[in-house]
Symmetry: C2
Subunit: 558 residues, 2 copies
């Protein structure tokens, strides 16, 4: 690596949202920016989480001086407990709330005492190795979020992701435009920025507009109000509490992550409630319906979350009934549309009035729309820009937008990052110079990495047509069938109703194992018998049913 | 059943879109309205299609006088080939294009010569049994669509689904408001209507507005234009052809259903093109890029359709390249958002400019929005209304809308139909009187009904954590283990990397099959051994991995 160049590369998702993790490297020093998980795509069957691939760092752990976290969302902090040991336990730099939320995770993984959590503010600079880091406040859908300006010997990298402008944020702290303006005086070399809402023209509305919609609902709802939102959206929870207090309602916080996050935010002063506002489940019956508000998890239709349990009459304390007003204060994340829709339908079935969708104005995004992206680029004027944290198309549209502004950006200095693409920068120089392999690292259950693409492909095959086991006992001395064939199947056909098919399958196996003249095979080994059975049974079943179950022969040598 | 009552019941989906099929019964006569399929939900693993459940009709086939089809979409005609034999081959009444599209299906199922296809027009009434049927034209996203007014001895049922008003339809035939107005003079008893866009305020824009957007694109696109849309949306294809002709481009129709449907529509005069406009794949290279337009399938991100093949560089004739303009002239059907998004990203990666989404105005719905639903209700004034063909919430919102109009509708005469809910009507009387069981009937491969809920549940389990087969040979005379345990797994862990886990699993089996004193079991039967292995292995694997693969013991008696 050339001296005095800054190397920048993503180890997680760039043309997809999630698994945010960047490496900034200069000389012998590395800092890591964010360390998040991705929730699996629908075709990653049975996978719980997807992690960034840190193969690039494997031989370099001694160079890692620290991890900088921007904010407390899963896609930015969720991989820390899974990867921190392999990274050699570098210190983690983050603001108070981010550390609070991370600490909760570390505790669950019994890592709390092994990790060095350095608390930073949004205004005091600090050093990581020889890099000078200046954090600055940004407005997002979680409080205490920051961007970072990282000055390395090779130049300044600004990491500004998951932000919007919001001139009237609920916590009173807008994105620090003064700081961004000031950084522009110092010739920032590279800006790494999210671009997920570049397709949305204009500006993202302020979080405060949601509060107005809440007030309108709280003013007229005849019975209980049940509001589902992201547990991490503390400002949203705050606005629900504010509306409840204004209209004389008690508030129950429901759902594990809602309770956990709110507890941490209350303790740290990021969430405020008057004494007596927050109640416990057993107090629900002490108040009339029109004095109750519930703020709960499940806005994405997650099967086990509070809202879906209520919609399925499966919640311990809350049964939906006519007169309830349910507010879904969120937009479905792509892929969750059907689950969310199903929950809403079930709530209607139970007689609730449900308020949801764009027209209701009960949700705004935490990400910058196109005019905001333009404004910050025009203000900061970095030499190079790496848009990420969006689909691939968003990155392309961002580049087109930047070039179209006519302030000097070309396709050469708006780089479209690739997963694992190693880019190097110096004043007047910036390009991808090579690539490190990065794949999907799956977490399934408690273990990381033992489920790979082969296993997921098998699951896809099993999911489609099920499987069929053929058991035979073969006398290896003469190749004759001494027991079986027996057939066991799951997920293929309902066996009891398909006896003809089962018998015909057995006949197919018997015929295949017999010689043309009806004698047993003379020369035999179990691998051959295995392959033979698989071949004839697969072919037979496809001919009969047009399905391709996984055929698994079990050959017992007797 | 009371005499002179009309019985109405749905056998397919009502609180979900698809599987449209209604029974209208009076005296000893039945007509069936539509006979459609549903595309499976994401959790119906491996299922190809879902059919209505016609158990109610099983003992009544002699009463069935005919099937009336409104239009040629899959969710209205797709179940005919699967169910027509069980229904006793009643005659099918439909307009020319609907019959053309149905005929194509019947041919594939070798049923063409067995089915009586009666061609009707949108203006000539006819009789089915003793019922008098008056068809009338409606505007929808496919030409030659009709509604039906069915006069029975018990009263008139109006079936008006999948319609919009559209004063400027591409085929020049708007919804026949005069007929609807005229029917209102004859005291219609029941209206069955779709309600899927009741959440959308105002009016659905005319199909003609899409043509204007097309013209704007065709006027400036620098290279080829590749447009994906529904193969059945003949008017949309017509508008693409019109724009191509106006701007001097040749048109290639690509994708099997696009070719089939267009051929039928061209033959029947529903689609028109000047001589020489339509070209064959091998002619693509004879014209410069800016004289080429391709109209293709794949607007829903279907993996095997033309657009996705192009996006994956897997199409025989078409490779996407920079300079291409791709137009996605459709909205993702709920559940397809992620697939569509993936295709669009891949097209961007190949350098295409992609035009999609609401802002681009390259798609309009074929269904009525709220003001249209109100207008038709106010005009027709049926005594009872059954909203369907929407999610459950749409039915509830429709009822609220109808009641809120203040023209006499109450919760009692806007009935929310249930699947299999048997409703009876007479002037002054209308309610659900009982219920017939209806379930999901799955088509998987070539067969109907042999995949049921048990099989699908097994697939879900296999999809989540895979499976593990444990093979043992037991000497039944003394219960001793004479061969194995062997372990085979798929979709659980990658076996080669998990030898320790495999060995520990085998040890667990050995230990379970040994007596406390280390001796072999004394009393033994294979069902017991089977259950024992399943229990200990499941428990062991869950403890080790927090996963629950399906454990399948294979016990060979030796």
């Amino acid at each position: 690596m050339a001296k005095n160049r800054v190397r920048v590369l993503p180890l997680g998702g760039v043309g997809e949202v999630g698994r945010n993790m960047w490496v900034v490297e200069c000389g012998d020093e590395i800092v890591i920016l964010d360390c998040g998980v991705m929730f699996p795509d629908a075709d990653m069957l049975g996978v719980d989480l997807v992690l960034p691939d840190m193969s690039y760092l494997r031989e370099k752990t001694s160079k890692i001086k620290g991890i900088l976290l921007t904010h407390g969302h899963e896609d930015h902090i969720g991989a820390v407990p899974h990867l921190i040991a392999d990274l050699g336990f570098p210190p983690i730099f983050a603001t108070g709330l981010t550390h609070g939320l991370l600490g909760n995770k570390l505790k669950e993984h019994r890592l709390l005492d092994k990790v060095s959590q350095v608390v930073i503010t949004d205004s005091d600079s600090f050093t990581v190795g020889s890099f000078h880091v200046e954090p600055f406040h940004i407005a997002h859908s979680i409080p205490d979020a920051v961007g970072f300006a990282i000055s390395t010997p090779g130049g300044m990298v600004v990491y500004l992701t998951d932000w919007k402008l919001d001139h009237t944020p609920v916590d009173g702290k807008p994105t620090n435009l003064q700081k961004i303006s000031e950084l522009s005086q110092r010739k920032p070399l590279v800006l790494i920025t999210d671009c997920v809402r570049v397709e949305s023209k204009g500006y993202t509305p302020s979080e405060a507009t949601v509060g107005e919609a809440f007030d309108n609902i709280f003013a007229i709802a005849p019975g209980r109000i049940i509001m589902a939102t992201f547990a991490s959206n503390i400002s949203r929870v705050q606005q629900a509490i504010d509306s409840a207090e204004a209209y004389g309602r008690k508030v129950l916080l429901a759902g594990r992550s809602m309770e956990n996050n709110s507890r941490i935010a209350l303790e740290m002063g990021f969430l405020r409630a008057e004494a007596g506002t927050l109640i416990r489940p057993h107090e629900l019956n002490s108040y009339p319906d029109d004095q109750i508000a519930v703020v709960c998890t499940g806005s994405q239709g997650e099967p086990m979350a509070a809202l879906n349990r209520m919609a399925n009459r499966d919640h311990q304390h809350l049964k939906i009934k006519p007169g309830d007003t349910v507010v879904v204060s969120a937009t479905p994340i792509p892929g969750n549309e059907v689950s969310v829709s199903r929950v809403i339908n079930n709530l209607f079935k139970l007689g609730a009035d449900v308020i949801y969708g764009g027209d209701a104005r009960v949700h705004v995004s935490g990400h910058a729309a196109q005019e905001e992206l333009k404004l910050v680029l025009a203000l900061l004027r970095p030499e190079f820009v790496l848009p990420f944290h969006g689909d691939y198309r968003h990155m392309i549209i961002y580049r087109k937008m930047a070039v179209g502004m006519g302030i000097g950006y070309t396709n050469e200095n708006v780089l479209i990052p690739e997963p694992g693409g190693i880019m190097e920068f110096a004043p007047g120089f910036g390009k991808q110079i090579s690539k490190t392999p990065v794949g999907y690292i799956y977490v399934d259950g408690t273990t990381v990495g033992d489920v790979g693409n082969v296993v997921v492909r098998d699951r896809q095959m099993l999911a489609k047509d099920g499987m069929l086991i053929v058991v035979v006992g073969i006398d290896m001395s003469n190749g004759s069938l001494v027991s079986g064939p027996d057939v066991v199947s799951r997920g293929f056909v309902y066996m009891r109703q398909s006896q003809d098919l089962v018998e015909a399958t057995k006949d197919t196996v018997r015929a295949a194992l017999a010689q043309p003249n009806g004698d047993a095979l003379t020369s035999v080994d179990s691998a051959y018998v295995n392959r033979k059975i698989k071949e004839v049974v697969s072919e037979f079943l496809y001919r009969e049913t047009r399905r391709r179950p996984m055929v698994l022969p079990v050959v017992m040598e007797v």
